[in-house]
């Protein structure tokens, strides 16, 4: 288990403040944030490389806040791997095993090398390795002493997209097989969606949101989180009640917490666009519309969903199977996602006018 309790770190002008996060034993946690958000600093604080200015670090139910790195028994893989350049791959992988007898050390090196598929590389100098090979070697080196906690700093950042996909899959399998509690930092939300049990979004050294990846994706709690994780369309506007507003009170008359407030039908206005939504408050706010929730058709069809409007296709962005359709609806730019085959059937092209439908409950208000 990894538990950070209101952790604060100051490194020069940069600071991480009041970060709290818990990754359960055997879990996979991700800290995600833009460059300079403090992700690596936070990971180094967990490993004991930088002192805390406040808070506590608990590993395996033990407070290690003042323990040196060598006493924390964590595996650490940096973004650029940092293999020891004056040693071979074998010497790198066996570096943390010097308390074992030469026979046991060699056996463990072979075992981990087999696990990571680097047996053929063991006697090579590290400078002769490709990015993917270095990544596997660094992972093998970190895993060799059998740590129960693994800390990964942007492990896929320095490899090409194809290698990244493969490594991500291997890492997930490895995690499931070995059951090592893992904390990874990344700037890629796809890592979080594919790997993580829990994700914390870091902004300017503070946790902006923490939760299960799909929760954060579905219900970002701020414009920053919504835009950073690429939820899709984030519209600034005004929320207005479509009827009477229920009192935000509990039965005993006390003010309800934000998440317990009663929800009511409302309208969200942004530019010339008006959407029917479900709100728990009125006033200025943001509406998040995921591209997959925007349903496109050539002819307008009546009935549900609640929101229908016309939009003009401005641009098509072709992916491997998905087409992102950039639209303009009453002066508001939007992005919808459709299957390649759907885009063909609808004959989508720049300048074509389409009908857009979206459920009121699919509009997430911030």
């Amino acid at each position: 288990m990894i538990r950070l309790e209101r952790v604060g770190v100051r490194l020069g002008r940069f600071a991480v403040q009041e970060v709290s996060l818990e990754v359960p034993t055997g879990g996979y946690g991700l800290v995600i944030g833009p460059t300079g958000a403090g992700k690596t600093t936070l990971l180094e604080a967990v490993a004991g490389h930088v002192p805390l200015t406040s808070g506590r670090v608990i590993l395996r139910d033990t407070d290690v806040t003042s323990a040196p790195p060598e006493a924390r028994r964590v595996g650490f893989v940096y973004q650029h791997y940092h293999l020891f350049p004056h040693y071979t791959v074998r010497e790198n992988v066996g570096y943390g095993l010097r308390r074992l007898s030469p026979h046991d050390r060699d056996a463990r090196v072979q075992e981990v090398a087999r696990l990571l598929g680097i047996e053929a590389l063991l006697d090579r100098p590290v400078l002769a390795l490709s990015g993917g090979e270095q990544q596997r070697s660094a992972l093998a080196r970190a895993l060799a002493p059998r740590p129960s906690i693994l800390l990964l700093d942007e492990p896929f950042a320095a490899v090409d997209p194809a290698t990244r996909r493969g490594l991500r899959h291997e890492l997930r399998e490895l995690h499931e097989r070995e059951g090592i509690t893992t904390l990874q930092v990344t700037h890629d939300f796809e890592d979080a969606m594919r790997l993580g049990d829990i994700v914390a979004v870091l902004a300017d050294g503070k946790v902006a949101q923490v939760g299960r990846p799909e929760e954060v994706f579905q219900r970002p709690n701020s414009r920053f989180v919504a835009e950073f994780i690429g939820t899709g369309n984030v519209l600034r506007g005004v929320i207005e009640a479509a009827g009477p507003i229920p009192a935000p009170l509990h039965g005993d008359g006390t003010l309800a917490e934000a998440e317990d407030r009663p929800r009511f039908p409302a309208r969200f206005r942004s530019g010339g666009l008006t959407l029917e939504v479900v709100a728990d408050r009125v006033g200025d706010g943001f509406a998040v519309l995921r591209p997959t929730d925007l349903l496109l058709s050539v002819t307008e069809h009546p009935g549900p969903p609640r929101n229908h409007f016309r939009a003009v296709v401005r641009r098509l962005e072709h992916g491997s199977a998905i087409v992102l359709v950039h639209l303009e609806a009453l002066g508001v730019p939007l992005v919808a996602a459709v299957m390649e085959s759907t885009a063909g059937e609808l004959r989508l092209a720049p300048g074509v006018t389409v009908s857009v439908a979206v459920k009121a409950t699919a509009v997430h208000l911030i």
Partner: protein, 262 residues
């Protein structure tokens, strides 16, 4: 057809050649002046041999002390921040810009029998003025900045994350330094130490004030020149120059040539 040379190209080659000639010319002239026979006689000269031996020994001691004290300081300057770090870094470099007789006078005042430090050290049998430790002190004063500077740059060139990885693999701070940073910085640290040794061998200004006798090679050469003239000083000077050239070659082998940026 070969491209025509611009005036700037011609000018920079001529200016560069002039300086190279100015530096190399006197050394070549000195080596040509000393015949192999005179070098052989110089090596058989017991006073010169004793002086060269004393010079090599004291320079070695000064270099070892410089490395033992200078490498930890260089590591601190490269890796940690502390109040007054820039001041300390500047202070350690200062002997490079101080005229060496001035360094000798400062050392005389600091280590002489009448100073607090010199008196205390003399009371435990460590005397500097007109004693061999004075030679070592003069050499250390002028050569330590070379060790510190070379080592500091070498440590700066080693990514601190390598040490951090070693720490997570079970190394203590000292073990990570010994197994990772020091081996990776060793070539430059050794090159700095060799240069510091050569600088110690060539030191004259501070030693002549602290410890004229027993004579190190630079003082003996000066002595012979002033007492017996140029012919008496040339063989010893040529021997010292050959020693310096040996050091130069060693440093060239130890430190890779930086790539030329086009």
């Amino acid at each position: 057809m070969a491209p025509s040379l611009s005036p700037w190209t011609v000018a920079r080659w001529l200016l560069a050649a002039a300086l190279v000639l100015f530096v190399a010319g006197p050394m070549v002239r000195l080596l040509l002046e000393a015949s192999p026979a005179s070098l052989g006689r110089a090596l058989a000269d017991p006073e010169l041999a004793a002086s060269l031996w004393l010079t090599a020994l004291t320079a070695t001691v000064a270099t070892v002390v410089g490395v033992v004290l200078g490498v930890p300081l260089a590591y601190l300057l490269a890796r940690t921040t502390f109040p007054g770090r820039r001041l300390v870094a500047g202070l350690v470099e200062l002997p490079v810009v101080i005229p060496h007789p001035v360094a000798g006078i400062a050392l005389l005042l600091f280590l002489g029998r009448h100073s607090a430090v010199g008196g205390a050290l003399a009371s435990v049998g460590l005397e500097f003025v007109n004693h061999v430790p004075g030679i070592v002190a003069g050499m250390l004063f002028v050569s330590a900045p070379i060790v510190v500077s070379a080592s500091r740059e070498a440590f700066r060139g080693v990514d601190p994350k390598l040490e951090r990885v070693a720490r997570t693999l079970g190394d203590s701070g000292w073990q990570a330094f010994r197994r990772i940073t020091l081996p990776l910085a060793a070539r430059s640290v050794v090159a700095g130490a060799v240069l510091a040794w050569a600088r110690s061998v060539s030191e004259f200004g501070s030693i002549v004030i602290l410890t004229y006798n027993p004579k190190v090679a630079s003082i003996l050469i000066y002595d012979r020149f002033t007492l017996f003239g140029l012919p008496a000083a040339v063989p010893a000077a040529a021997l010292l120059l050959l020693l310096a050239l040996g050091v130069f070659v060693t440093v060239q082998v130890l430190t890779p040539e930086p790539a030329v940026r086009r």
